[in-house]
C-alpha cells in the first residue's frame, strides 16, 4: 500500500507541477544534447583515429641502382622483422602504373621524362602491436640503415596530431560534461524545490502524523528521476535526428564513396548513456534538494 501511495504521489506531483516539469524536461534535454554532441564528436574522432591507425603502412623506397641481390636482401631482412606481418614488393613499373591510375592528370608530366623516375618499393604492413609512435620510428630507423634503402615513409605525423586532438576532446568532454551536469542538476533541483514549496503545507501535515523524512522524500525523488529520464529520452531523440541529418548530408556530398565505414557512428551505448545520465542527474538533484530542505526543517 505504501509503494502504491508513493508512486501515486509522484505522478500527482508531476501532474500538478506540469508547467515547471515541462520546462525542466526541455532544458535537461537541451543540456544533454550539448553533452551528447560532444560525446559523439569524441567517439567518432577516436574511432576514425583507430581506423586510420590500423591502415598505417610503411613504404620502404629502394635505390634505383640496387641490384636484385640487394633488393632480395632487403626483403629478407624486412620479413625477419617481428613487427612486419605482410610485405608487398612494388616494382618501378607497377609504381608508374598506380601513379597514372591515381593521378591521371599529372601522369602527363612523367611522359616528358627520360624513363621511369619512380623507385621500386616494399610496402610493409605492421602488426597492431607495433603501431605506436615509438615502435614505428624505431622500425623506420632500423630499416633506413639497410643497404639499398633510400627513404622510409609512413603517415604517422598527422595521425599523432589527430590523437592529440582526440585527447584534447577527451579533456574537453570531461570539463564540458561537468559544467553541463552541474547545470542540469541545478535545473532539476530548482524544479523539485518549486514542487516542494508548493506542497509545503502537505509536508508539514505528513510530518505531524509521523511520516519519516525518507517517506516524504521518495515521491520527489521519483519525480526527479522521471523528469531526468524524460529529458534524457528527449535529448536522445533530438540527437538522433541531428545525427541522421548530418549523416545523410555527408552521404549526399559523395566524399566518402568507398570508405563508408569511416562515416560517423552512433553507438547504442550513447543512447543508454544519455537516458541513464538524465535519470541519475534527476535522481541526484532531487535527493539534494529534498534532503537539503529537510535538514533546514529538521523537526
Amino acid at each position: 500500500m505504501r509503494l502504491l501511495y508513493l508512486l501515486r504521489e509522484a505522478i500527482t506531483n508531476l501532474r500538478v507541477n506540469r508547467g515547471n516539469v515541462l520546462i525542466g524536461i526541455v532544458t535537461t534535454a537541451f543540456t544533454l544534447v550539448c553533452f551528447g554532441v560532444f560525446v559523439l564528436l569524441y567517439l567518432n574522432l577516436k574511432s576514425l583515429t583507430g581506423t586510420l591507425q590500423g591502415d598505417i603502412e610503411v613504404v620502404v623506397y629502394l635505390d634505383p641502382g640496387a641490384s636484385e641481390q640487394v633488393v632480395s636482401l632487403v626483403q629478407k631482412r624486412l620479413g625477419a622483422e617481428s613487427a612486419a606481418v605482410a610485405l608487398t614488393f612494388v616494382s618501378k613499373e607497377q609504381a608508374l602504373r598506380e601513379f597514372s591510375e591515381q593521378f591521371p592528370a599529372e601522369s602527363l608530366l612523367l611522359e616528358g621524362m627520360d624513363g621511369n623516375p619512380l623507385p621500386a618499393s616494399v610496402v610493409v604492413r605492421l602488426s597492431p602491436r607495433f603501431l605506436d609512435t615509438e615502435s614505428l620510428s624505431a622500425f623506420a630507423e632500423r630499416v633506413r640503415q639497410l643497404p639499398g634503402v633510400t627513404h622510409v615513409a609512413y603517415s604517422q605525423d598527422w595521425i599523432d596530431t589527430l590523437t592529440l586532438v582526440v585527447s584534447y576532446f577527451e579533456l574537453g568532454a570531461v570539463v564540458i560534461g561537468t559544467i553541463l551536469a552541474v547545470a542540469t542538476v541545478t535545473i532539476i533541483a530548482n524544479t523539485i524545490r518549486l514542487s516542494l514549496y508548493t506542497r509545503k503545507e502537505e509536508i508539514e501535515i505528513l510530518r505531524l502524523i509521523g511520516a519519516t523524512g525518507v517517506f516524504i522524500a521518495i515521491p520527489y525523488v521519483i519525480e526527479g528521476t522521471i523528469l531526468g529520464a524524460a529529458g534524457g529520452g528527449l535529448s536522445l531523440a533530438l540527437l538522433k535526428g541531428i545525427f541522421e541529418f548530418f549523416r545523410l548530408e555527408l552521404n549526399a556530398s559523395g566524399w566518402f564513396v568507398g570508405v563508408e565505414h569511416i562515416l560517423p557512428v552512433f553507438p547504442r551505448q550513447v543512447s543508454f548513456l544519455l537516458v541513464m545520465t538524465g535519470m541519475l542527474l534527476g535522481c541526484g538533484s532531487s535527493v539534494l534538494s529534498v534532503f537539503g530542505l529537510m535538514k533546514r526543517r529538521h523537526r
Binding site: 500527482t12 501535515i205 505528513l206 505531524l208
Partner: protein
C-alpha cells in the same frame, strides 16, 4: 504517560515556557488553559517534538523527547494523535484518503486499514462523506475528519490545540462530545483551549498557564 521537569523555552527574549513541571497519568483528561500567549501551544509542541526545550526534560511514555534525535520524532508521533486548530487536512484528497494516511505511513495492510478507517469515520459521523474532497467540507466536518485521522491508529495519547478555535458554539459542543467519547474509551487527552465553555464541558483536570508558568493545577496533589 507524560512528565515534564522544569521545562523552559525562549524565543529570542520572549519566555514561552518558564520552569514548567507536571505529570499526566494514563487515561487522564487534562485541559490546558490560559490566555493567548500563555504558552499552551509551545507546551504541546515540546511534547510532540516540534520544538526543543531550552532546559528541562520531557518524558513521553518513558522516552525523553528533549533528547530524541530528529529521526526518532516521527516514531514518537505515531504513538499519539494530534489535532490542531487550523485542521491540517490535505484538500486535494478525499476524506477517506486523509484519514487513512497515518496507517499508510505505518505500513498497515490495506484490508486492516480500510476496516479501521471506516470504523473511525462512523464514530465521528462522517462515514457517508468518505469520497468527498476535504476542501469542500464545513469547518465542523473538517475538524471531525482531523479527529478521525488522529485516532485512526488507536493512539494512547491525543493532543489537541484549540480544536474548537474555528468553530461556532453548536459545533464546539459537538466536538467536545466527541473528545469525551474518545476519553471514555481510555485514551489519554491533553487539550489546550482558552475557551472557558470547553473547559467546563470537558470536565477534566485543569492546568492553568500564564506567561509560560503553571499558575494552577487541579491535579497537583495527585
Amino acid at each position: 504517560m507524560i512528565q515534564l521537569f522544569h521545562v523552559s523555552k525562549f524565543y529570542d527574549r520572549c519566555t514561552a515556557l518558564d520552569d514548567v513541571s507536571f505529570r499526566i497519568d494514563k487515561g487522564e483528561c487534562v485541559i490546558l488553559t490560559g490566555p493567548s500567549g500563555a504558552g499552551k501551544t509551545t507546551l504541546l509542541k515540546v511534547i510532540f517534538g516540534a520544538e526543543i526545550p531550552d532546559s528541562g526534560q520531557i518524558l513521553v511514555q518513558n522516552r525523553n523527547v528533549a533528547r530524541l534525535r530528529g529521526g526518532a520524532i516521527p516514531y514518537l508521533r505515531r504513538t499519539m494523535g494530534i489535532v490542531l486548530q487550523n485542521f491540517q487536512l490535505l484538500p486535494r484528497k478525499t476524506v477517506y484518503e486523509n484519514v487513512i494516511l497515518p496507517l499508510v505511513i505505518q505500513g498497515v495492510t490495506r484490508r486492516l486499514a480500510r476496516k479501521q478507517v471506516l470504523g473511525v469515520l462512523k464514530a465521528v459521523g462522517m462515514d457517508h462523506k468518505q469520497t468527498i474532497h476535504t476542501g469542500v467540507l464545513s469547518a465542523g466536518e473538517q475538524q471531525r475528519i482531523c479527529i478521525a485521522r488522529a485516532i485512526v491508529n488507536s493512539p494512547i495519547l491525543l493532543l489537541a490545540d484549540e480544536p474548537t478555535g474555528n468553530l461556532d458554539a453548536e459545533l464546539t459542543v459537538e466536538i467536545v462530545e466527541l473528545f469525551k467519547r474518545i476519553h471514555a474509551e481510555g485514551t489519554t487527552i491533553l487539550l489546550a483551549t482558552h475557551n472557558q465553555r470547553v473547559v467546563e464541558q470537558m470536565n477534566g483536570r485543569v492546568v492553568h498557564l500564564q506567561a509560560g508558568r503553571v499558575v494552577s493545577d487541579d491535579g497537583a496533589t495527585s
